[in-house]
Amino acid sequence: MTARDLDDGLMHEGNTGVTCPACGGPAGAADSFCESCGTELAPPVSSTGPAGYTAQCPVCSLDESAPPSVISAEGYCESCGRKVPSGRDHVELNLELLAGVTDRGLRHPRNEDAMALATTETPAGPMAIAVVCDGVSSSPRPDEASLTGAQAAVRVLLTSIRRGDDPDEASLAGVRQAHEAMAILGSPSQAPSSTYISAIIGLDAVTVCWLGDSRAYWLATDSEARRLTRDDSLAEEMVAQGELTEAEAMASPQAHVITRWLGADVGTAQPHVTRFEPPGRGVVLVCSDGLWNYRPEAAGLAELALPAAFHDPASAADALLKFALDAGGMDNITIVLVPFPLARPAP
């Protein structure tokens, strides 16, 4: 499922600066909205997936002699009873400047990760925005929390960047909006919760804002590859205090206990914001722990993603997903890749 299938192509036509897809009127390369009809030319996209369930049972359709499967309104195959994938179980988004994939993995019954992407043109050049949220499984309706948070944040981030706000301020406005949107989903005792990470990639800097253990990496072929975030997790705290090595921490049962998140049980969100100026050519990776569990070091991830991610982030994201699934797919997996410097492929 690509973004193009999900929407009627609005987000692709807009920024290339030819015509408005809604009214056919002329539009400038840097326009966010059509001057004639007001249509948003490059709206954000998110991993909602299509409504409903897949039309065919993935298990029964393997048997070519069997009649076509019927899927019930509740999403079960009427022959084998298997729950079939819903829209969110696997979603690919491709905005050319950046691309992402999110997947249920192999061991969880649903995908509680969510992502939202956007691009915009500024006088200084293109900018890309990525938000990834990983719903907290022990909270109620984590899938709702993550998608609500990602969608709320990307909208504010995009508006803020279009307005010319400083990326740090935009990032804080985004996470605040995500927090508010998640908080109204529940109460302090019943709080749908999620991790949060946003990345704003501009002409010369990457601004990352996060809570929890979803990560951002700078992937490069040289020794500059590095992790850009520090997890809010018990494991990370123990490593920071020198109590455990990273390998020991990862093996500990508390490796995935996070110490910060968003939700109605959090009074004031306390996000981290960091600004990174890339030293050269590379790729920004934003991901949930479903990927980094299997390859936590930046150099290792760079090896998997490069050089493909430089020119085809969508295929590279697929390859990373396949790697995580082959490694066990124990958790939901979300991967967003943004080649730097931002450049649209030649038409």
């Binding site: 019930s72 079960y76 084998c80 009873g81 298997r82 729950k83 192999l106 019954p109």
Partner: protein, 433 residues
Amino acid sequence: MTDSGFSVDVDQNQYLPEGGRDVSAVVTVASGADVAVAAPSGGAGSAEIIIIDCSGSMDYPPTKMTQARAATAAAIDVVRDGVGFAVVAGTSTAWPVFPADGRMAVASAATRAAAKQAVTGLRANGGTAIGQWLGLARQIFAGYYPAQLRHAILLTDGKNQHETPAQLAAELSQCEGTFSCDCRGVGTDWEVSELRTVSTTLLGTVDIIPDPAGLAADFAAMMENAMGKQVADVSLRVWTPQHATVKFVKQVAPAVEDLTGRRTQSGPQAGDYPTGAWGPGESRDYHVGVEVNPAGVGQEMLAARISLVAGAPSGAQVLGQGLVRAIWTDDEALSTKINPRVAHYTGQAELAAAIQEGLEARKQGDEETATAKLGRAVALAHQSGNEDTAKLLSKVVDVVDVESGTVRLKKKVEDADEMALDTRSTKTVRVKK
């Protein structure tokens, strides 16, 4: 509650360990204050037949026959205007008492009075052939087309001596599904298992009325209950995935009734289990066990879809639906969790079985088995808070230690107490959700 006025709720632990196959759920079906289906309710839709034992033993003591006539009159008084009704007398044969032409009368003040008059003429004289009685009732019902809700009350005081068990079984299989029947045994000379077979097959209740003086109130209550029924021939339709097997379908509240063998195939992957007729404000629990082909960890499967359907020749009307799910997980904390209601009803079914097996062993003179089974029953009744059954048990055994179920068989047990325990062994208590 859906538009039909029925609700279907499923209670289960949906998590299975890797490779797990057995899915178990308690399905609660409840009817609201307004139950409505396409079929019209009210008088014309209902028919009642009262079947009275007129065998010679009904005169020993004579109060039995006197009270049986009074009880029949009391039940007739409760029949609502417009309802089809008839009274049948049974010995080694059966004959229509009212109306005498072997058809169905339509209830009115005049027909009720005429029926009661006819009943006063009943005398005890002859044998007992319950299959004959049921056969006549079946024919009278069959000739009365408007009725969808067909119900009978059968009273006897003795064993089915004047026909073979095979004859009774053959007649029962003809009656099955055509009408429901509540059975009452008066005195202590009748056979619990015999009458239970009739009531179970015909989706009714069975009970003992030790003292004939209690008949009238019981008959009136049974008829009152029957008049409250509004939706006929309701079934549980159980859909299961391919390669799955329905292990059992049991009603577990208000009493245990095993419906497993009552399945009628209703589709390539679905079977119907009869629940009989429903009135407003009823609630019954069913325990459903399904064996499925395991899927991988992280996968989810619909193990069963339970639909409540009202049967109609033109097609079934779905009154409500519930889903039984299976999710495979490697989290043992999830897969080993025992659903309290499933556990409770598993215990209640074991309680009923322990009582019946214990009494049977006692009858056969196998005191060791009887003591063990009835002891187990005492412990189960205590653990589950089934006080009525505990009370009945205490009339048959002396309880030494209730927790461990240590008991001694009483040397002298009243027949009526033993039969009451037997007939009421299937009564269950509910747990709060």
